[in-house]
């Protein structure tokens, strides 16, 4: 893989940038692979990368119906944090956060990992109680998290008002300093480039139309570029997880909802960190280009159109002005939607299934982006070994039968 860096930039700058190699190949699908990952988003490409790098499975392919990073990976608000309540969640999200820290260097691709801090505001006694429980659980699980009194919140993020007369006064907040944001496209491209260099075939513009099985075991897939044989198929298709699973007659505890987000026009830096408020129901950060990136809740109904209703946008804007009154005069520049795969307990499904060789990694709902490297890492382990490791085990499908849910409802109060 060609080395990127300031030196290569200078060298190429002197000869008109003619020496840059393509970041990935555009291979035609081979008749057979050892494993196939359906879905060329962040999680899918990370899975392929770790399969190749840590498990030596290089004769594998990522099949993407559109262009890599075109699904939720290209539509999220890039927030990174791991201050989840339950031990099982803390384990996987913090595993991801540790991987995020050096991922740019590992992939030799600057993903603009900005550990600028994430604030979750508490506006009433109930929220304060919940957030203090979370911060203490984080501390005992070794996840960096602290409780801030209103004055400290104001010091850390000056635009926030802590006036006690507000409709939703700030009674305090949790802060995860190592949380923050990064550049979603860079993560997708970084993983794709590294996986491709390890021999993984990334096949874009190729849609999986069926999954073949015999005697309860996977034998291959049908695609718009012809059939491919393989003993292992892994679905990492977010909003389309149910559609892929239905190809094997499997039903999942997942419903796909539109999740909208938007950006303001680019302005000079004003938001130093990520701010999230459940009660006011909005969260915001400022991109490195200067746009305020604003997100809120899902549309309540099921939809695959990647579009939501306007009344959701109106509530989002009203909440934005309530949380940060100065944003009222800024203009919102672009609004879009993704399809988020929501589980009843707001926790993912990382699991084998009753069909041998078919694995599912989905149900991340509104919180999938922050888990990308951790999800890929443990899912690669599950695919390679056909057994979940300790971090992945609690997220098996069986939990819906036994009732041992990982109930992060509180965490999903506001989509992030």
């Amino acid at each position: 893989m060609q080395r990127y860096g300031i030196l290569s930039l200078i060298r190429e700058g002197l000869r008109g940038h003619t020496g840059w190699e393509p970041a990935w190949r555009f291979p035609e699908p081979k008749p057979r692979y050892d494993a196939i990952i359906i879905g060329g988003g962040g999680h899918g490409l990370a899975t392929a990368y770790y399969l190749a790098k840590e498990h030596g499975l290089t004769d594998i392919a990522v099949i993407e119906k559109g262009w890599i990073g075109g699904g939720n990976a290209g539509r999220n608000t890039t927030i990174i944090r791991s201050n989840y309540l339950y031990d099982e969640s803390a384990a996987i999200y913090d595993h991801a956060l540790q991987l995020w820290k050096n991922l740019g260097r590992e992939l030799d691709f600057n993903i603009m990992m900005s550990h600028r801090g994430v604030l979750n505001l508490a506006h009433d006694e109930g929220e304060m109680r919940q957030l203090k429980r979370r911060v203490e659980a984080n501390r005992l699980n070794g996840v960096d998290a602290e409780w801030l009194e209103p004055e400290d919140v104001k010091a850390f993020c000056p635009p926030i008002s802590i006036a006690p007369t507000l409709r939703y006064p700030v009674l305090g907040a949790t802060l995860q300093r190592s949380g923050g944001t990064n550049r979603h496209d860079a993560v997708v491209w970084g993983y794709a480039r590294a996986a491709d260099a390890l021999g993984v075939d990334i096949i874009q513009q190729c849609e999986v139309t069926n999954i073949l099985s015999e005697g309860g075991a996977v034998t291959g897939i049908e695609t718009t570029k012809g059939p491919i044989a393989t003993p292992k198929v892994a679905s990492v298709t977010a909003g389309h997880t149910s559609v892929i699973a239905a190809m094997l007659g499997l039903k999942l505890p997942i419903e796909s909802h539109p999740l909208q987000a938007m950006v303001s026009e680019p302005i000079k830096p004003v938001m130093p960190c990520v701010v999230m408020s459940s009660a006011v129901h909005v969260y915001v950060s400022q991109s490195d280009k200067g746009e305020l990136v604003i997100g809120a809740g899902i549309d309540p109904h099921l939809s695959y159109t990647q579009r939501g209703s306007f009344d959701i946008v109106e509530h989002q804007m009203a909440a934005m002005v309530e949380l940060l009154p100065f944003t009222s005069r800024l203009r919102f520049m672009r609004q879009w939607g993704g399809i988020v795969d929501v589980c009843p307990d707001a926790s993912p499904v990382i699991s084998k299934t009753r069909i041998k060789g078919f694995y599912v990694n989905g149900g991340w709902g509104t919180g999938g982006w922050k888990a990308t490297p951790g999800s890929g890492h443990v899912f690669a382990d599950l695919i390679a070994n056909d057994e979940p490791n300790a971090i992945a085990a609690p997220f098996a499908l069986e939990r819906f039968v036994s009732g041992a849910l990982v109930a992060e409802h509180g965490a999903a109060a506001v989509a992030h």
């Binding site: 849609e207 190809m247 419903e255 309540p300 099921l302 209703s309």
Partner: protein, 164 residues
């Protein structure tokens, strides 16, 4: 109440899937077919209201088991948690929460948000035609506005917009 499994492959009873891409030439409304309703929901009792008047109640026709004590844990989990979540025709429950507070069913094409039919609780879903994606996770010929449905292909006939 028939248990519907509107999975993509198996067409449930009562649906007639029309995968042919209808040419719109004959339709004065420039290429779409009949009155399309998306997110202006026609409450069977109150009439058309904006979607914000309603609350969504999830997949329809999942009757609550009357003999749950005899069911296995996994059969019970299927009732409580598993959903078909189709990209296509979906029978779903809606409540006119800000109006008459009555529950009713809707058949909606989740690939385009087209509302195909509105029918009352207790009724079985009517037959509908829907313009569905040609492939399971593809886009319908028109209606989502997403990547694969932005530009007319060379073979697609477009409706006559005024003037042409």
């Amino acid at each position: 109440m028939p248990r519907l499994d509107p999975g993509i492959r198996s067409v449930p009873a009562g649906f007639r899937m029309d995968r042919r891409i209808k040419s719109g030439d004959d339709d004065i409304k420039c290429g779409n077919w009949g009155r399309q309703e998306m997110f202006l929901i026609r409450c069977p009792w109150c009439g058309e209201r904006d979607v914000s008047d309603f609350s969504y109640g999830g997949e329809a026709h999942i009757a609550r088991p009357t003999d749950s004590e005899t069911m296995s844990d996994s059969a019970w989990a299927e009732f409580v948690f598993l959903r078909s979540n189709p990209k296509g025709v979906h029978a779903e429950r809606w409540n006119h929460q800000a109006g008459c507070r009555r529950w009713f069913n809707i058949l909606r094409n989740t690939a385009t948000d087209d509302i195909l039919a509105v029918y009352k609780m207790g009724e079985s879903p009517p037959e509908v035609t829907a313009n569905l994606p040609a492939t399971p996770s593809g886009e319908a010929a028109i209606g989502s506005g997403n990547d694969a449905a932005k530009i007319l292909g060379p073979d697609e006939t477009g409706g006559a917009t005024a003037g042409k």
